[in-house]
Amino acid sequence: MSLDRRALEAKGYLVVPGFIDLHAHLREPGFEDSETIATGAKAALRGGFTTVCAMPNTEPAIDSPGLVAELISRAKAADGARVLPIAAITRGRKGRDLADLVELAAAGAVAFSDDGSPVEDGRLFRSALEYARVTGRPVIEHPQDLALSAKGVMHEGAVSARLGLPGMPAAAEETAVARDIALAKMTGGRLHLTHLSTAGSIELVRRAKAEGAPITCDVTPHHLAMTDDWVAGSRAFAWEVPDEALQGVPYESSTKVNPPLRGHADVRALWAGLADGTVDAIATDHAPHASVKKDLEFDQAAFGISGLETALALVLGGVRVHWAPIGAVINALTIGPARVLGMKLVDDDWIAIDRDAEWLVTADELSSKGKNTPLLGRTVIGRVVHVSLAGETKLGERREGNAEAVGRR
């Protein structure tokens, strides 16, 4: 253990392995107005993520070995968190033909996903899982029955009924989870279900795991902390009592995310899944958007929350009210996702956390280009104060003064 590390522990900081994010949208190539690999990898560091997996829904989609290689070289140049490429399951993410999965894995893809678009064709998805066995890489599926979710823009429930917004029922996710589990059992291919958001999904995974199915899953910080009341203007975390001081304006598009923010019982079920090990990982689904995609009517705005930099503070909130022990949460950010990827933790990747640091979330405070978070203007508690990546200090306390990114632009 380095001197640095001991000194930080002596200050009362929590020193843990660097976080691994299984699910982030870095938008490059194609949508650099929303994020770049450099800004995303920087935001990751500030959130405590030393490794971040980049989703392939870029333009072009990452569906060929050459594109995987290009992404790896751009990530090296970015000098932020370690960026691992996820490749598309199907060519152009169109859900019609499988991409060259074996060659993509050889080029360095750590997983496959058409995230954002579920693979609707069950037969094609079966083939993807068969190939996943051969490549030893997981298939990361965004479970959603598109016919059931239809034109929904938020969770279907009492709040959507009141706001008059088209809803996405919990069943739209759960029927897809059930199909995916059945195919994973049949093929033995490694299936990872991402951003599960409903109590029913967690229960399906819990039972399938008990039967020994080869599946893992993750949940996001925002689904762990926020409910569909946020669409109606509430800014009270799931563990807080709603009150008027925490009431904002309804229909803020920053609360529009897919899967949608769910009900309170769903949030509790995600935490229960974290506590009992049903949930393997916490992944951010960091989805930065340029303001032109968000400064719109609620139903016209893009889905997604910019989440890398606020993830830790959100999940620590649930820990403070004992919804899960700190150990379970840290595991879900470190060893959990490493196991999903079939990797070991890197000893020299570690971070220090100030669990009591209060900070105000503002657009300026975020390194990400995506300022699209409903947390703007809210005070949150818990912050990363030091990041060491492969032994090199990437973010740290100066001898005196506040935490500052080292080598910041």
Partner: protein, 326 residues
């Protein structure tokens, strides 16, 4: 008299006192509308911008007449419904509205919540003239006014709302206005056209659901039939319009199940023969034309409360008295 609101976006958080204020003011406005010259001066020099991003003739004309009856300058902005594809964003339009400097923006929009977006970004008072499936506050208020006019105090009265509640901003605003006035509401209609949560027992207080329209109407004090959009059948929510009409259409036989002379209402435009029979729509119990007349008065009341000349107390004086001093 209790009025502190800057905008009318939804009535879901209105107190009974606030609703009473508007309904009392509406009564004063009907007086102006009965005069030989239907014009009073309290909004002289004020500009009302009618921003209708979704096709509507009735509501727009109703607001226009209301604004002109109060001597406001009225101007129209039309915009395409889903503006994104046509290259002009709502934000662009808001910037234009702000630059034009209107005192009141009356807006209709296909997206639920769009009036909140505008209200956050402009100095003008915003009146929601219908947004998506969400709210149509002036319709709720005019329905409450019309019902109170016909039935007296609404305390304990039971009103049936039948039809496509799921997609209806009118149903939501009727509920939000009638419940605080003491009425109870029974919803009826096909299960696919009632919000799931409301069928599952998470109904707003004072509201119940009864799929059987005959049972729902038994002993009711009034009924409001909602417009059925033909595309609901195409999107698989209904087997056929004929079945809908037979099961949930308002016929003379069904109307007879209510209390004697119970009012029949409809926000218009009607599909006669689908959700309502012609004989009922134009029968003695129909208040449908009265709804249209009262709509102008309700809109005058709101325009007046939002933009009328303030008195030293900060609250606009009653319009009728202002008229007398003019």
């Amino acid at each position: 008299m209790n009025w502190t609101r800057r905008h009318v976006l939804d009535t879901d958080d209105w107190s009974r006192d606030e609703i009473d204020t508007v309904l009392d003011q509406t009564r004063a406005m009907t007086e102006i509308l009965q005069r030989p010259i239907r014009r009073a001066p309290p909004l002289r020099g004020r500009t009302v911008i009618l921003f209708f991003a979704e096709a509507s003739t009735r509501t727009r004309v109703s607001f226009e007449l209301a604004a002109k009856a109060l001597s406001a300058d009225v101007t129209n902005i039309t915009a395409s419904g889903s503006s994104v594809e046509k290259g002009e964003s709502l934000y662009d339009t808001v910037r234009t509205l702000q630059a034009l400097g209107g005192d009141v923006v009356v807006m209709r929009h296909a997206s639920s919540g769009a009036p909140y977006f505008v209200a956050e970004r402009t100095d003008a008072a915003v009146i929601n003239a219908g947004d998506g499936w969400h709210a149509h506050p002036t319709q709720g208020l005019l329905d409450a006014y019309t019902l109170r006019d016909a039935l007296g105090d609404l305390d304990g009265k039971r009103v049936v709302i039948v039809g496509d509640v799921l997609h209806s901003r009118v149903a939501r605003s009727d509920i939000n206005t009638l419940i605080p006035l003491g009425a109870r509401v029974t919803l009826s209609g096909p299960p696919t056209l009632i919000p799931t949560a409301w069928r599952g027992g998470q109904l707003p207080p004072g509201v119940t659901y009864e799929s059987d329209l005959d049972k729902a109407l038994e002993g009711a004090h009034a009924v409001i039939a909602l417009r059925l959009q033909r595309e609901r059948q195409e999107s698989g929510l209904l087997p056929s319009l004929r079945e809908y009409s037979r099961v949930w259409g308002l016929t003379a036989d069904r109307v007879a199940r209510m209390r004697p002379a119970a009012p029949v209402m409809h926000p218009g435009p009607m599909n006669e023969g689908v959700e309502i029979d012609a004989a009922v729509a134009h029968g003695s119990q129909s208040l449908i034309e009265k709804q249209v007349t009262n709509g102008v008065a309700v809109r005058m009341a709101l325009l007046y409360l939002l933009a009328g000349a303030p008195t030293p107390s900060g609250v606009p004086a009653p319009a009728v008295r202002l008229e007398a001093t003019a």
